[in-house]
Symmetry: C2
Subunit: 399 residues, 2 copies
């Protein structure tokens, strides 16, 4: 009988979103007349932008014709898309070689699969509160996880502790769920720590498009030396509303090498290439054409407009909370607003209070880790009208 991977038995079942659904359903059954507004949603709502729609239709027409048909493509992505991504990075001052860029179907896939390259004996450092995939994928492999406290004292931007050694470090900026954004100096300190400890930073930049201040880093590679110690994950999910269309990319620098036990120098770029060519067959040609359109001049304009819409929603929430004297993090360079529950309420207590009194649904911070207790996540992904209406209801009950 095969022995299964019994580390799966150590995974915690997450009931966060099913618990939310249960409470919302019970409320709806009791109050069929009340119009619920969902402000906890982590998914985009605006349709694909015209530049992408047109590229997708064009690619299908190519696939409908033998002369322009595409079969298997390069697993790591077509040159036209890798080149477009290279140009995008160059636009914010980061120089990459196309061979350092790997196109995939999702940042979640790459963040999950990257652990394939590391030994199970490595020590992993993960902030709390956190996107649960970082923890779960390491638990699946049986790796030891150390948590790093993110809290109001450090602005939910924890810094390295020189006395604690880690081999792998997960950082996410702009952060999900807190919306906090590391400054360049803060990332420099992380890169210095990683170089000192010969650690690898796994940097999740899925929300970089929400950064509106040129002094804030949109990529870990804005820091000198980061190419020797970091891998970056990015996605079109939030940049261009691709959550249902699926396209992402991961940067594994050529300079990122490690010494093996036998003294051989191993390149993580080459290992990831081998992993992807062996266990992946590339993203649909059609979708890659749609993705490339995001990086055209008109595509960049349209995606900025889309991101701007969500940011304006987030700003509306942030301004309302300021007006109400409620402390929050994020909401400026992020679609996420991480608010302190008012009057010392706990996360789920505030969830129930808000649902009962305002018919507004958010996400209890406690669902993202122990340091999330007493916090609540709101997002800018609803429509402007729904966001405005929800804020009126906030004012009515929290003034």
């Amino acid at each position: 009988m095969p022995k299964l991977n019994e580390h799966y038995q150590n995974l915690k079942e997450s009931y966060l979103f099913s618990d939310i659904a249960k409470r919302v359903n019970a409320f709806t059954a009791a109050h069929p007349d009340k119009k619920i507004i969902r402000m906890g949603i982590g998914d985009v709502t605006l349709p694909l932008m015209p530049e992408v729609v047109s590229a997708l239709h064009g690619a299908i027409d190519e696939m409908a014709n033998a002369a322009s048909f595409h079969g298997y493509g390069p697993e790591q992505g077509y040159d036209f898309l890798r080149g477009a991504i290279q140009g995008y990075y160059a636009g914010h001052g980061v120089s990459l070689d196309p061979d350092e860029i790997f196109v995939s179907d999702g940042a979640k896939s790459d963040v999950g699969n990257i652990t394939d390259l590391f030994d199970v004996g490595n020590v992993v450092l993960i902030p709390d509160p956190v996107y649960p995939v970082y923890v779960d994928t390491n638990v699946m492999d049986g790796r030891e996880v150390l948590y790093l406290n993110a809290n109001a004292e450090n602005g939910f931007l924890p810094m390295p502790n020189p006395d604690i050694h880690a081999d792998l470090i997960y950082l996410c900026s702009p952060n999900n769920p807190t919306g906090a954004v590391y400054t360049l100096d803060q990332l420099k300190a992380w890169v210095a720590y990683a170089l000192e400890h010969k650690a690898v930073i796994l940097f999740d930049a899925a929300y970089e498009a929400f950064i509106g201040d040129d002094s804030l880093p949109r990529s870990i590679f804005a820091v000198e030396g980061a190419k020797k110690c970091a891998i970056e994950f990015c996605s079109l999910s939030k940049t261009a509303g691709f959550t249902g269309t699926r396209c992402a990319y991961t940067v594994v620098p050529r300079e990122l090498t490690m010494r093996a036990s036998d003294g051989e120098t191993l390149s993580l770029n080459r290992m990831w290439l081998r992993r992807q060519t062996t266990k992946f067959n590339g993203v649909s040609y059609i979708i890659q054409r749609g993705a490339a359109a995001v990086f055209s001049d008109e595509g960049v304009r349209q995606s900025r407009e889309m991101v701007g819409y969500y940011k304006a929603n987030a700003r509306l929430i942030a301004d309302t909370l300021s007006e109400l004297g409620i402390r929050y993090f994020g909401g400026i360079h992020s679609p996420y607003i991480w608010m302190e529950c008012p009057n010392g309420m706990k996360s789920w207590e505030f969830f129930d209070y808000l649902l009962e009194n305002a018919a507004v649904v958010g996400t209890p911070g406690a669902g993202f880790g122990v340091n999330g207790e007493g916090y609540f996540r709101l997002t800018g992904f609803s429509s402007r009208e729904q966001t405005a209406e929800a804020m009126e209801r906030f004012k009515a009950i929290l003034k």
Copy 2:
């Protein structure tokens, strides 16, 4: 410093296709006037069929409109597609629950990722010659691989040896590269062995659509008891020309359970669900709509026509080889023809002979494993005209 996954150092570099390319390039440089015909191609060449093209365009129009836009979908696939696949299986007599069907971006991804569920201590049995992904993905994990000889004596359909124990068994039927197809009785023997040894069969059915004889099994689940010991991988790559469009599905039966060390019963269906929901975000909504169209009445008709075209090419090759008195396997219920190299030539010797004398390119069997030596793979994926011309050249030099 993180220790890397040093099992990657045990991977063999495959030079098969780069060696082929080098020799072809050298020949072209020396003989710029000669028109090369590629008969080694493992990729489809016909364009997407009209039913799929129309569904893809329709899905993009849905995504271009806020009211019909789709964001994140279920990681394991939309109900409309899982239901369509369930209906397809029912059509060849296999009853599945939609929860047993997992939609993905490729059989290669699923075949590669499935090893996540198993302990590294398991013993793996893999036929030789073989699709290299089975071996490489296990070497990456550090699992022990036993090879199973497929050869002319067993018709390239090796059967279980009751004295050899394995925990995981890879089977592929219709086979890549040999084109050989297991009968129902042969698969029954494999299922009996797996149940006896409490082993799991990983069954690759990527070429099932090429089976034209109802008495031959298109699914391992045609065998009673298989749901207790098998996982099946299938794909639209060859069924509907999706190699560049990317959609596949994997069946993990609910009955497939194993006892953990602590006595708990683990369900592989639940473990795969957890793996996919943690490390995957589902296939593009657009692509899933295109995939569902393959299973409509008109889609089934069009895909049969497409598969029929490739099969007729394979038949033309098979008939030519019969006429020339050259022994071969496959070519009837498969796009692959696995021919003995004539006059006792070795695989690469015949490759060079064919290139030099007929300007035809195929794949040396030795590239698929030690038992491939002396064999040569041809495929039915070229155009009818190219296939016919290649066969005329065969007759001219091999008569």
